[in-house]
């Protein structure tokens, strides 16, 4: 059997680091394990004592766990859906980022499913979904679609790993432990890279890519139906299905940007994941941001226009009531993300000659704006200066906050234009936090404003926050362990892309024919 070859550069960057672990890696793993350990302890306490240790009580039966469930399942759309869409449409630039995207999907689904386990209290009750599940229940549809998505995503992640596992098997460093040799031999499934195998594998991947897209769309649509098929105020909405799917893809792309940047920095993948991936995926990201704003407006506008006596308190609590503190930061974060992604392209390099277009000026303006906003929103027990009219001082503060915020946004533009990667990560962080807040704003205000019981409050307990922290830690831990076992970039796909790029460079594309040339001579019109 001939050993499969890999270029020295690819081996040094993508294979050899899999067998080296520095002190930083072990420190991170230890820290994550400690956080997970704390979460496990809190979960055991919850199982022992019951759901009374959480803040969930009548009428808010769903809280942080449900928010996290929808959030993590949304993040899972990063991968398989985006990767599948790009693969089906033949987007060549996808090659270096597909594996990271697919890994996010698999791990976010695992962590997302844990949230249900936390939420139901007694874990054995999860089996009731299967023992007593009826096909008319959206909870059952959810189990149906998440099962299909998880199995499909796992397969879709594994298939492109087969040739890479064979490449690692045939190019193992000398210090590779025995169990790793066995692992890659098993996962490679006897792969030899024959034309028949390549043809079959690529056919199978293409079939999976096509099948996974509707399954992915169904997953978040059905999660929205868990809410929308009830008559709870604010949830009984036809727009929830597409709204959730868009939000999921939006947060998924943001998570992908953060993950691929971390992998790029930590594993020195700058020559693989280039600005091309950031720019092209950024276009999709901007589109999703615009569509998300459209759906958010559509969803809230119809509630505002209807002014139904059950729905109106929910919306009012978000606009100026107890949940304004989570609603408006969500809007602000999404606006900042949109600004950071779109407006740097309007900035000119010549702006940098003006001294105020510096990050430090932008930062000081942003801090000033934030401080003024704090003064505006923190309730004042007594006026600072009795001689100033409170209305005038409030209006002055609003104007100053806006001016300093705008200054911060404008003066940072040249820096953002020069730092595409950093800018994209800033926007992504805003979107991830904003989307978590969006899930909160959908679940909690409705739960605390039901039809029959008066307004109530919900603030998560230490148990719930601990399990949230542990879930995040588990997600990161799964991610880093996976990329200690497998290359973060699909080696064979990247090499194929490189060969195709080189071939394309040799192609000379002719100039278009002038309009002065007779139409009959236009090769482009198919008349040659």
């Amino acid at each position: 059997m001939m050993a499969l070859k890999v270029a020295t550069r690819d081996r040094e960057v993508l294979i050899d680091p899999l067998f080296q672990a520095g002190r930083g890696f072990w420190l991170l793993v230890t820290f994550l394990l400690l956080v997970i350990g704390w979460g496990v302890a809190m979960y055991v306490r919850q199982v022992w004592s019951g759901l009374g240790v959480t803040a969930m009580d009548r009428p808010a039966y769903w809280g942080l766990y449900m928010v996290n469930f929808i959030f993590f399942i949304g993040i899972s759309h990063a991968g398989t859906l985006i990767s599948a869409i790009l693969r089906v449409t033949g987007a060549e630039w996808r090659r270096p980022i597909t594996r990271i995207a697919e890994a996010i999907t698999a791990f976010a689904l695992v962590v997302g499913t844990f949230q249900i386990l936390f939420d139901i209290g007694r874990p054995d009750r999860l089996l009731y979904v299967f023992w007593y599940g009826r096909l008319q229940s959206p909870l059952l549809w959810d189990a149906f679609s998440v099962t299909a998505y998880f199995l499909g995503s796992l397969t879709y992640l594994y298939m492109p790993i087969i040739p890479d596992a064979a490449l690692i098997r045939d190019n193992l460093p000398e210090n590779a432990p025995g169990w790793r040799k066995l692992l890659y031999r098993m996962l490679a499934l006897g792969w030899q890279g024959t034309p028949t195998q390549w043809l079959r594998l690529e056919k199978l991947i293409a079939i999976m890519a096509v099948l996974i897209i509707p399954v992915a769309v169904s997953v978040h649509t059905i999660i929205s139906w868990i809410l929308a098929t009830t008559v709870q105020p604010g949830w009984h909405s036809t727009v929830f299905g597409p709204y959730f799917v868009i939000g999921a893809i939006f947060s998924g792309i943001a998570a992908l940007f953060i993950a691929m940047t971390l992998a790029r920095r930590a594993m020195h993948l700058e020559s693989y994941i280039t600005e091309k991936q950031y720019r092209n995926l950024g276009y999709i990201f901007i589109t999703m941001a615009a569509v998300w704003f459209y759906f958010t407006y559509a969803e809230n506008m119809t509630s505002a226009a209807g002014q139904l006596k059950e729905e109106w308190p929910v919306l009012a609590s978000k606009l100026w009531g107890q949940y304004a503190a989570t609603f408006w930061p969500m809007v602000l974060l999404m606006f900042i993300a949109f600004w950071v992604l779109v407006f740097p392209s309007f900035a000119s390099r010549s702006w940098q000659r003006v001294p105020i277009f510096r990050p430090r000026f932008a930062l000081s303006s942003a801090v000033t704006s934030a401080l003024l906003l704090g003064v505006l929103t923190i309730p004042q027990t007594r006026p600072v200066l009795t001689s100033i009219d409170p209305v005038v001082s409030r209006q002055t503060l609003i104007v100053l906050t806006t001016i300093f915020g705008f200054l911060a946004g404008v003066t940072i533009l040249p820096w953002l234009k020069e730092h595409l990667v950093e800018g994209t990560v800033i926007a992504s962080a805003c979107v991830v936090i904003g989307m978590w807040l969006e899930r909160w704003n959908i679940i909690v205000p409705t739960m605390t404003h039901p039809r029959l019981i008066g307004n109530s409050a919900y603030a998560p307990s230490l148990t719930e926050w601990s399990l949230f922290g542990a879930s995040l830690a588990l997600f990161v831990l799964l991610f880093i362990i996976f990329f200690k076992l497998f290359p973060p970039v699909s080696i064979w796909e990247v090499v194929e892309g490189r060969v195709l790029d080189r071939a394309q460079e040799k192609v000379v594309v002719p100039m278009p024919e002038s309009t002065r040339t007779p139409a009959s001579a236009h090769a482009g019109f198919g008349d040659d």
Partner: protein
């Protein structure tokens, strides 16, 4: 107009969607189908190594056109 529950098709559908346990069976059947599909697909790919052909570390469209 009342729903035509006297028709067997609607009686069957009513039983199908409302009977406890049918949902679990449906999820189980789906999971089984996916696992079988994946298993057969992977076996099909692995069986491709038995042919007496050249080995390639990566494919290109030309490889597929040639074979």
């Amino acid at each position: 107009m009342n729903f035509p529950m006297d028709k067997p098709i609607f009686q069957f559908l009513y039983w199908f969607v409302n009977t406890a346990g049918n949902g679990g069976i449906a999820v189980g059947v789906l999971a089984l189908l996916i696992v079988v599909f994946v298993f057969l697909g992977l076996r099909w790919v692995a069986a491709g190594s038995q042919s007496d052909e050249e080995s390639y570390s990566y494919p290109t469209p030309a490889l597929h056109e040639k074979h």
